[in-house]
């Protein structure tokens, strides 16, 4: 199972081997969770939405083109799910869990540098969470999922001109919030 390609796992899943889908989940759970976490800013909710993304992915697996990579497809699905969640009334909140950047600890030799990096990451995450959801979405798709303008446009059902202007404004807002003197 471990050596199977994503394509083989998708085909097996379609043939009724649900366990094969479990392997796909194990491969992509971290990246899908991170999509949700960057967009939602709340760990528990991000885990729920990541899980739901995989369930929806399973339900829509017949529509997936096996010639394309599975990772970007499931991450895009997760991003859309999170956006729908953010569009719900009262969802434009600014949560940010405290515990998110313990990841670097132990990974770097110099604790001082590690702490600086942790603080820097935290500032970026906080700045991202202050963006309106539609701006957060274009940043996610462009910078973290490396989609082109055209792909962002079709994923979010936005005109190309809006993709460009949303990205521009989102980055301006981010830059303002990340200025050292702020």
């Amino acid at each position: 199972m471990q050596d199977s390609s994503d394509r083989a796992l998708v085909v097996k899943t379609r043939d009724g081997e649900v366990e094969a889908y479990g392997e796909l989940v194990r491969r992509y759970q971290s990246s899908v969770f991170n999509v949700c976490y960057r967009l939602l800013g709340e760990r528990r909710e991000a885990e729920d939405l990541a899980q739901e993304s995989f369930v929806r992915g399973y339900q829509r697996l017949e529509t997936f083109d096996v010639e394309r990579p599975f990772g970007p497809w499931i991450r895009r699905l997760a991003a859309n799910l999170c956006l729908n969640q953010l569009r719900r009334p009262g969802q434009n909140r600014l949560p940010l869990d405290e515990e998110h950047d313990e990841l670097r600890e132990g990974g770097l030799a110099d604790p001082e540098t590690a702490e600086e990096e942790r603080q820097s990451s935290e500032r970026v995450r906080e700045a991202l969470m202050t963006l309106p959801p539609r701006y957060r979405a274009v940043i996610e798709l462009r910078h973290f999922q490396d989609l082109t303008y055209q792909e962002i446009s079709s994923t979010l059902s936005l005109p190309l001109s809006d993709v460009r202007s949303h990205l521009f404004r989102a980055r301006k807002m981010l830059a303002r919030r990340l200025r050292p003197d702020d």
Partner: protein, 206 residues
């Protein structure tokens, strides 16, 4: 737009430039401008630093594996709709039967749209449908006659439904409305609703 020494490119164009979303000619023009314009080069460097900050953002570790809950949820959701599928199959079969019985009405409706007022056409069609149903009656009678006596006695004591054929239209319409309402309730699966997501995904409260 971006000739060396000429007008500086608009700020938004620098973003598009870094996103590699310009056509080759525009991209080259900005390249040339940047080579000769320290101001724009500095603006670009600032923007590149922001890009780097975003792209270097480390992943947050997942604290629990999701695969177990995902598979459990898939299996749970797959199990419940089987009952729905049976219900839908039964409804489809009944719907097909109604269509067969109502074939005259359908044909009349399609071919004689202008030949008869709607009300008359409906009354005639309903009458036809019940005419067809009446063909089944001998079989029903025979089946009932073969049932044990106490049950036949009990059935024979049931009051007759006080409708004449021409009044069955509203009854059928009401049945159809009930059918549609029933279907909408049936198909609104509690496993899809957002409110139940917490429990459907492993019952973790928030």
């Amino acid at each position: 737009m971006t000739e060396p020494g000429g007008a500086h490119p608009e700020e938004v164009m620098l973003h598009v430039f870094l996103d590699r979303a310009l056509d080759a000619e525009e991209q080259a023009a900005i390249d040339v401008h940047l080579a000769g314009c320290p101001l724009c080069a500095a603006r670009l460097a600032e923007l590149q630093a922001l890009f780097a900050l975003l792209e270097d953002l480390p992943d947050t570790p997942l604290q629990r594996p999701l695969d177990g809950d995902v598979l459990a949820s898939i299996r749970r959701r797959a199990a419940v709709p089987r009952a729905y599928r049976v219900a839908i199959a039964v409804q489809l079969a009944l719907g097909a039967l109604v269509l067969v019985l109502a074939r005259h009405w359908v044909i009349d409706a399609l071919t004689g749209l202008t030949s008869m007022p709607l009300q008359d056409r409906l009354a005639a069609s309903v009458s036809d449908v019940f005419g067809d149903l009446s063909l089944l009656w001998p079989w029903v009678e025979q089946s009932v006659a073969s049932l044990p006596n106490p049950f036949v006695d009990w059935v024979s004591r049931l009051p007759a439904i006080p409708f004449v054929v021409s009044q069955w239209g509203p009854v059928m319409a009401a049945a159809l409305a009930l059918w549609l309402v029933g279907n909408s309730l049936l198909l609104r699966s509690p496993h899809v609703g957002r409110k139940s997501r917490g429990s459907a995904l492993g019952g973790r409260g928030r």
